[in-house]
Amino acid sequence: MSIPNFCGRTRREFLWQAGAGFAGTALSGMLQRDAIRASNVLASDIVAHQNPLTAKEPHFAPKAKNVIFLFMYGGPSHIDTFDYKPAMKGRDNQTIDVKTFGRGGHKNQGRIVEPRWNFHQYGQCGKWVSDLFPHLATCVDDIAFLHSMTADSPIHGSAMLMMNSGKITSGSPCLGSWVNYGLGSVNENLPGFVVMLDPSGGPISGAKNWSSGYMPATFQGTILRSKGAPIIDLNTPEGTTRAMQRELLDALNDVNSAHASTRSDNSELAARINSYELAFKMQQHAPEAVDFSQETAETQKLYGLDQPRTQDFGKRCLLARRLVERGVRFIQLYSGGNHNDANWDAHGDLEKNHNFHAGNTDQPIAGLLKDLKQRGLLKDTLVVWGGEFGRQPTAEYAMGTGRDHNAYGFTMWMAGGGIKGGVSVGTTDELGSAAVDSPFHVKRLHATILNQMGLNPNGLSYYHGGLDQKLVGVEHVEPIGEII
């Protein structure tokens, strides 16, 4: 593809020739975004400090403006949720030859655990959905199911990194970082990449899952909470009123301005003064964003806020919609945290585990889709659902229904943001042990998300370690055309 020009040169050439590299004081506005190398994304002004999160033009007209990634941490079982396997019916406990690879290692044989829930057909598209998702089943005509997802690792640590950053090793920026790097943020009073965690804890590897890796910290995810101070250190310390803080900031501004007046060629100083004002505004706007009192009882009910079971995840979903309305680019919600059965990692009792997590999230997610739709937001908002991998058709242990991890084939789904509704693409074999028909690697999913946001997945790059690093890697990756 052609590369945007700057002063008749590519930005790379410009920096090359100008010899500009790492942050000289006057330059860091641009350079902190670009490190040594300018990428295909442009800065607009060289000398003045600029907020790297300033909204930027996409590569082409986007279908979606925001992403809500519903991360079903631990790995939901696809054959018990959306990947209907009637051929398994009546085969419970049969020992079969099947190649699997999970935390228990490579196996060539296993004991079938029949899907534990009944499936019914829903919607105009007639999609088969298990009884785990009675609410979500009513939304299938808005959803595109990807049944042939594959990932590089069936181990939580590396698989989480893969789903969030495209690599099985740590140190690379996450999807939300890439989106903000490419597009900037349209609301400077809120972070552009927001993560909402499960009350039981973060996912494995914690902050690595919202890290900006080799990019500046500007692009890292910010944890937002629906309880207490929504953002860390947002609230003034005990005994400090907002008026007192204003008082302090006024003094700070005065002394800082006097200091800057004899150094006015250094725009970083002004930027830092401004950042305190932004923080002050954020203190006002962020609590407003998480204030549900403006929502009607009907809306709250739609998300399941009236029931103890769904209240928690429902709040995160409702918050996600409110953040979308406020222009937050990338919102990631975790269902499940910590370890083992505190998330979808059903190694022991599959039924208990999935009944619990599906029951907590089914209505809130359906509520979110319906609410986005009725408000006309769904067309601009890309909703993504899935875990870091799926689960095996066979039992992990000699006894019980627990399933081990499966990265050979699993299901994710997308809705809104220019994604076709009521379609299902890709298939796994009759057991759901591996993708057989048009397998979609995680990179394809990432490419699709960037593409819907108006970013060319093979063009959006960041120069690091001597290479033009891309979320989707060196090789050309196509978005999943079948669902666009």
Binding site: G19, V47, S170, I223, D233, T240, V255, N266, G466, V474
Partner: protein, 979 residues
Amino acid sequence: MNRVRKPHLQLLLGFLIFWGAGNVSGQSSDPIDFGRQIQPILAKRCFACHGPDKAEGGLRLNQKESALSKQQSGRQAVVPQHAEQSELLRRVTSGDDGERMPPEGPPLTSAQIEMLRRWIEQGAEWKEHWAFLPPKAFAPPVVKNAAWVTNPIDAFILHKLEQAGLTPAVPADKTSLLRRVTFDLTGLPPTQKEVESFVADDSPGAYEKVVDRLLQSHHYGEQWARHWLDVVRYADTNSFERDGPKPNAWRYRDYVIRAFNSDKPYDRFVREQLAGDELPDGGSDGLIATGFYRLGQWDDEPADRLLALYDGFDDIITTTAQGFLGLTVNCARCHDHKIDPISQQDYYSLLAFFQGVTPNGNPNPNTERPIFEDESARQAYLAAVKVHQERMDNVQASISAIEKDFRERLDTQETPIHPADLDELEYRFYRDTWQKLPDFDNLKPETKGKLEKGFIDISLATRDFSFGFVFTGVLKVPADGEYTFSVDSDDGSRLTIQGQEVVLYDGIHGTGQPHVGKISLRKGRVPIRVDYFQGPTGAKDLIVKWSGPEVEQRLLSVPFESGLRVSEGKNRKKDFKNLIASKGTAILGAEVYGRYTKLLQQLDELKHDKVQAPSALCVTETGPNPPETVVLKRGNPQSHGDVVVPAFLSPLGGGVANIPKPDQSATTSGRRLALANWIASPSNRLTARVIVNRLWQHHFGRGIVRSPNNFGLLGDRPTHPELLDWLAIELMQGSNPGDAWSMKRMHKLIVMSSTYRMSSRAPKLRLNSTKATSNDNDPLSIDPLNQLFWRHDMRRLGAEEVRDSVLAVSGQLNSKMYGPGVYPKISDEVKAGQSNPGSGWGNSSVEEQSRRSVYVHVKRSLVLPILSDFDVADSDTSCAARFTTTQPTQALGMLNGEFLNEQAVQFAKRLRKEAGGDVTQQVSLAYRLALNREPDEAMLRRGLLLIEAMRTKHDLSAEKALEKFCLMTLNLNEFVYLD
């Protein structure tokens, strides 16, 4: 596309200067620089089809020979001095879409085409990339304003300034200079006393005295170690699911601090990190330094082990090449480097040096080795182990004696389950460590004696491990017939009857799987013998049973509980414990039993307080002969290509490494030492350049090469190539052989230069000027990026400097050096992001929490918020230069965070203590401590006004109001930005 924006006028002007690099006029006769102006065009637009990977039509534009010779088509891409005959030019200018090159993307711009034309006309000189040529000894240029030159550095800088019509900025004022040099060399602000004495010292040597003092300060090593730790991606944990600790990684961090403080020559520093274990005089530092190999991320549960192994090698290659050589060799893992002349063969030949390195592991004995500072430390350790062992033995002997007594007394009170079947039973007791049964008959027993009761009994042992027994006696056989013997033991044992081996159960093992043997015996008395040993660790036991005519499952070994229910295996010990606990007082008496329990407790404590040798996390190899190294096609570990041997990078001269054949008993191959010697050699073209550039970088805010980890074609060109070479040669040669490779000497040269001592202010800052021309030599217009160093760039403090300064100013900084990482408090809100909130983050005392940031435990998945807010290096990959971001989250942390608010309280306390109760004095002192200068009237008044407002408008106490002022002071731009 709508991306072309109106260029900034200043920028364009600045641009012309650098583009021409010294020839501002840009005339057509000016020589074209192949490396800078031509090669990038070829690389970017032509190499895809005519480069290292592909040679369409046989043409490779990355090779001079190919470009300058006739192709099969009969045409020649480049004909020197004849642009009109050069196929290259014809094709890039062709109006025919089918002919024009490159076939994809927009055609070359007219400027690019003009450049190519001029280059060919000028002779098409095919000069190698500057970094691949050896540094040249340039004489410092002659300058007009010779008085400004303090040392040759200044001559190189001033020469370029004069060429551009610029004059250097005035010298920085004394306090700014002191603050700058103190932060640069130590990472901390100067103390009040240091400021006062420097300001008062008018002697010409005042500044030099300061520099010498700072270079002697142990804080120097802490500051500069941190820069190096960024390069080697130092962390104390492994990342991934468990993000487990790397044991003893901190010793590497301490090693680096010591290396800088002791001014270890850089070539030695390189050798120790890459091959300290292979150096004949490596010593313990040599081992610790090789922790370099263990610092990377490591997945203990990889999805693909083979791939993970090569990811590990790649991590080492990447860090080694970028860190020491400034080359992104990593780009050649899957295919030849697209731009630099680094082939896949080069990459795997470099990998071959590391092929024998054992993979990471945790815990893994392969990655840790004991270290001793010298032989006497080793002896002291061995002596301490011996003393400790003797104490344990003594306690065990006392315990055994009491237990024996207890059993005997119990025997007299209770009936055994059956009479003994052994007679004339004797034992011999041995002490040593074995893995298999030794030939006890050739060894000298520790003790021997009789077992009157007639049962085999190992409880006589005077220690719990590393001992052996031989029991000999007579077995009373009641009738003729076949008898079955069962022996269960932990560890090895052998049963011999009438000189015939009946049961052999040798080696280290537990109980539960008795070994059985049969033998026919005649009625009467037959000789029997049992050999037994207990290895260095674990449980101990010996159970011997027999059955046959008139004998049903009777014990030959001691029925421990003497007549009570006899259980076997693991429960015996427990049962005995229960027994002595319930009957001990009654049978032994309260006093003896009390002594017994105390002895047990003592033994437990002794077992726990093992004498541990200090260990280093270090490199180890599989042995003297590493496995073969093959090129992996497309980087795929399953897809083997040619076999390669250790060889040096071809753009730097190449050549197969000459490695002496290692002794077959050697633990390593000697390959890494060969690599280390090549890198640390004065003839290496990059090593010295790369490190002096890093020194320059951290004194001036950017390197002479702005991309310190990339000196290749995609990196930035040096703004002052001659100066870079001069510094490199100066480092290698020293003022005499004694200070060759001395880093402190280079620091001193740099900070003593007039260049370093310039003010950060623009000489004539024209506020509100609408004029944007450069006719009056305004450096801001001519060189807004300060490419030529006409002033000193301001810089924001790094993350550690921000935190350490806050502690220093509040008076809380704990200057203790070295040791395991410390854990400053992290709020629960932040820890909630972990999958196990709080896991892997310890508790340190308040004093320990106040130590310098270089000592903070580096946990890859949990970074101290104040450090991550201020752009601490991401530790997953080598960090060449940190970012300087400005974000609202920094402001939130600095205003509302617990750390800052606590420190503001401490700061206020300090002010009250040192300035007394007078508010003006307090405010004045606060500024002096935080900013190292006398406050001006306005800021003094503003501070007082804030305190006043807090008191009157917000009803705060004097203390609280002062704390708010302190918080404000710690948030000042002047506090975090250096002039």
